[in-house]
C-alpha cells in the first residue's frame, strides 16, 4: 500500500509524537493513508492507541530492519 503522506517521529518524544501524527492525519482527506515511522516502546504503545481513540483506523504495524517501526493509519471522518 502506498501512503498518501509520510512522517518520521523517530526523533520526537511524548507528547509531540502524537501531536505530529494527529496534525498529519488532519491534513489528509478522509480515507487518506499516513505512514508513521516511529522508534521506542512509548510511541509504539501510545501512537496507535491514540489514533484509534481519535476514530482513525490502524491498517498495519511492522518492524523494520533498522529497529524502527512502520505504522499505517487511515484518516477517518471527524473533526481531527
Amino acid at each position: 500500500m502506498t501512503p498518501d503522506a509520510r512522517i518520521d517521529i523517530t526523533g520526537e518524544v511524548c507528547p509531540m509524537t502524537f501531536v505530529r501524527t494527529k496534525i498529519a492525519l488532519e491534513r489528509l482527506p478522509v480515507g487518506g493513508v499516513l505512514e508513521v515511522r516511529l522508534r521506542g516502546d512509548e510511541p509504539l504503545r501510545n501512537v496507535p492507541e491514540s489514533a484509534r481513540d481519535a476514530g482513525h483506523t490502524v491498517l498495519g504495524l511492522e518492524k523494520l530492519e533498522d529497529g524502527t517501526w512502520r505504522l499505517l493509519l487511515r484518516r477517518e471522518a471527524g473533526r481531527c
Binding site: P15, F18, V19, K22, I23, E26, A54, R79, C80
Partner: protein
C-alpha cells in the same frame, strides 16, 4: 496551516479532541474585545491568550490583554465580551449579576438578539465578588466554544454566591419563525388548497413527537349566517377556527404538553402579504393574541405555485419573512 513555533507552543491543547490544527486556527482567527474589568477580565484574558486568541481590553486593568500578540495570524472574527446591561454584538458573551450570583450568556451570530435581551433583562452589573477568577475562566471557555463552533446559538451558565456552577437552559425562541419540516408544509398546502375558493386554516403544533399539522375547518360562513353584523366577511376573504375544534385542540395540548407553533391560513386571491385584517385579528389591541405563536400565510396564485409567508411578532409589530414551500408533486 500552523507554523512550527505554533505547533510547539500549542502542542498540549492540539492533542485535545475537537481542537487539532483546524480548531487551533479557529481560536487564532478570533479577536476578543473584553469589556470587563477586575479579576474576571484578567483571568479571561490570560486563558484566552494562552489558548491562542487575541484579546483587546476596554479597561487597562486587564494587564494580560495589553501584551502584544504572542504568535498568530491576522484575527478576522470579532467576539465581544460585555458587562450587563451592555450586550455583545453580533456574537460574544455577556456577564451580569443577580443577587449574589453571576450569570453568563453566550450568543452566536446564529442566536436571537431578542432572546438574549429577554434572558438578561433582570440582570444587574456583574459586580466584584470572590468568584472573579472563576467567572473569567468561564468567559474564556464560552468564547473558545464559540470560536471552535461547538457552542449552541445561545448558552448560559450561572455561578452561585457559593461558587456552584449550573448550566442555564436557553429559552425556546419565539421571535423567529419555527422550523417546519417540508412534509408538514406539503400537507398544509394540500389541506389549504382543498378549501379553495374559500380561505383555509390550520394549526402547526410542536411537541415530543415533532411538528404536526392540525387541519382546521373555516367556520366563517357559519358565523356569518348566525350574525352577519359581527361577521361581515364571507369565508372567501376571512377565516375563523371552528370554536369547538379549537377548544378541543387547546385542551389536548394542555394535557399532552404540546405547543402551538403557528396559525396558518390561505389567501385564495393571491395576496402575498398579511392584510390589515390579518394583523388586526392577530393583535387586536396592539398586542399579540397568542404570544409566541407565529403566523403562516399561503397565497394561492392562478397558474403559479403557492407562496408562503411568515409573520412573527417582534418589537411591537409583525415582521414578515419568506417561507419557502416544497414543490408540489
Amino acid at each position: 496551516m500552523l507554523s512550527e513555533p505554533q505547533i510547539q507552543r500549542y502542542a498540549r491543547q492540539l492533542l485535545l479532541r475537537d481542537l487539532g490544527e483546524r480548531g487551533q486556527e479557529a481560536l487564532g482567527a478570533v479577536r476578543v474585545l473584553l469589556g470587563l474589568d477586575g479579576e474576571a477580565a484578567g483571568a479571561a484574558a490570560a486563558y484566552l491568550r494562552a489558548g491562542g486568541t487575541e484579546v483587546s481590553a476596554s479597561s487597562d486593568t486587564a494587564a494580560w490583554a495589553s501584551m502584544p500578540p504572542l504568535l498568530g495570524t491576522a484575527p478576522l472574527r470579532p467576539l465581544t465580551v460585555t458587562a450587563s446591561p451592555e450586550l455583545p454584538e453580533p456574537e460574544g458573551v455577556v456577564v451580569g449579576g443577580r443577587g449574589g450570583a453571576r450569570v453568563l450568556w453566550s450568543v452566536g451570530a446564529d442566536g436571537c438578539a431578542d432572546c438574549l435581551r429577554h434572558a438578561t433583562r433582570h440582570l444587574g452589573p456583574p459586580g466584584h465578588g470572590s468568584s472573579g477568577i472563576q467567572v473569567g475562566t468561564l468567559v474564556a471557555l464560552l468564547v473558545q466554544r464559540r470560536a471552535l463552533g461547538v457552542a449552541a446559538p445561545m448558552e448560559g451558565v450561572e455561578v452561585s454566591a457559593a461558587g456552584t456552577l449550573s448550566t442555564l437552559v436557553a429559552p425556546a425562541c419565539v421571535h423567529r419563525p419555527p422550523a417546519i419540516p417540508d412534509d408538514v408544509l406539503a400537507e398544509l398546502v394540500h389541506h389549504l388548497s382543498a378549501a379553495l375558493p374559500d380561505e383555509g386554516c390550520a394549526v402547526l403544533v410542536g411537541g415530543g413527537d415533532g411538528v404536526r399539522l392540525v387541519p382546521m375547518a373555516n367556520a366563517q360562513d357559519a358565523h356569518r349566517a348566525r350574525d352577519p353584523e359581527a361577521f361581515p366577511r364571507t369565508a372567501r376573504t376571512a377565516f375563523t377556527f371552528e370554536p369547538r375544534a379549537w377548544l378541543a385542540l387547546l385542551r389536548t395540548l394542555e394535557a399532552s404538553g404540546g405547543r402551538i407553533l403557528a396559525i396558518a391560513h390561505s389567501h385564495p386571491d393571491g395576496g402575498e402579504h398579511f392584510s390589515a385584517e390579518d394583523r388586526r385579528s392577530a393583535a387586536p389591541d396592539g398586542q399579540p393574541l397568542y404570544p409566541g405563536v407565529a403566523h403562516l400565510l399561503v397565497a394561492f396564485r392562478p397558474g403559479r405555485p403557492p407562496v408562503g409567508r411568515w409573520g412573527v411578532w417582534t418589537d411591537g409589530d409583525f415582521a414578515e419573512s419568506a417561507c419557502p414551500l416544497p414543490e408540489q408533486s
